[in-house]
């Protein structure tokens, strides 16, 4: 509840949140509207799109996303270790090497299993 450093951050957040809307609003106000049939075509040249926008994706994309989130967690653990490194010392280094080593087993498994091969 002691937000000493955060007002600037929240003001920035508010600004960043409102900025896109502001840009669109300015564009709406300033632009000159003379619509014709050709201007309403999806592309000026090229094919007309067909089918639905929501198509099914291949499962191989999913495998990459999945490995990404598990290594994302590894980052979450690496970050405090890096910040506190001077205070926690060699013991933490060894622990961290074990941690990364165990996770490296996972990526070796993925490699051997062919999960990272783009088919």
């Amino acid at each position: 509840m002691h937000l000493t450093g955060y007002p600037v951050f929240f003001v920035l957040l508010l600004f960043c949140g409102l900025f896109p809307f502001l840009l669109f609003a300015i564009s709406q106000l300033v632009q000159i509207k003379r619509p014709t049939a050709y201007k309403h075509e999806t592309y000026e040249s090229g094919m007309k799109p067909y089918g639905e926008a929501r198509i099914r994706f291949d499962v191989k994309f999913y495998l990459y996303a999945l490995l990404f989130i598990l290594f994302d967690i590894e980052t979450i653990f690496l970050f405090p270790w890096a910040v506190a490194y001077e205070k926690v010392g060699v013991f933490a280094l060894v622990e961290m090497l074990i941690f990364v080593g165990i996770l490296a087993l996972g990526i070796v498994y993925a490699w051997r299993k062919g999960a990272l091969r783009w088919q």
Binding site: M1, V59, Y62, L66, I69, L70, D72, I73, I76, F77
Partner: protein, 116 residues
């Protein structure tokens, strides 16, 4: 006694107590539970589980900050919950996708083979 009650009242009006956060976390947990019970889409069920885990995280952090701010154990617990929920989501979604590949359905009611 009289004095402290007055102080508590003033604090409740001006600032936030731990109960505010606990209340929001309870509402989120209840909504997540309602989603788990009512949803028929498997992925939505998983998302509602994530919602419940997030509510629990909020409780850990709020109580840590309001009860004993000099020991950040609550935040460390929250990081472990984060880890567990990521692992749960990865395996859970892999199961959902395997089910979808086998039966071409994500409806919870289609998977009733073990129902007695």
């Amino acid at each position: 006694m009289m004095m402290s009650a007055e102080v508590a009242e003033v604090a409740a009006v001006a600032g936030l107590t731990v109960h505010h956060y606990l209340g929001v976390a309870t509402i989120l947990f209840g909504l997540g539970f309602a989603g788990v019970v009512s949803s028929r889409h498997l992925i939505r069920t998983l998302m509602c589980v994530e919602l419940m885990l997030n509510a629990v995280n909020l409780v850990f952090v709020a109580i840590n900050n309001h009860v004993n701010p000099s020991d950040l154990s609550g935040q460390v617990f929250a990081i472990f919950i984060l880890t567990i929920s990521a692992a749960e989501a990865a395996v859970g979604l892999a199961i959902v996708l395997a089910l979808f590949k086998n039966t071409a359905s994500v409806d919870v009611e289609d998977f009733s083979r073990l129902k007695w």
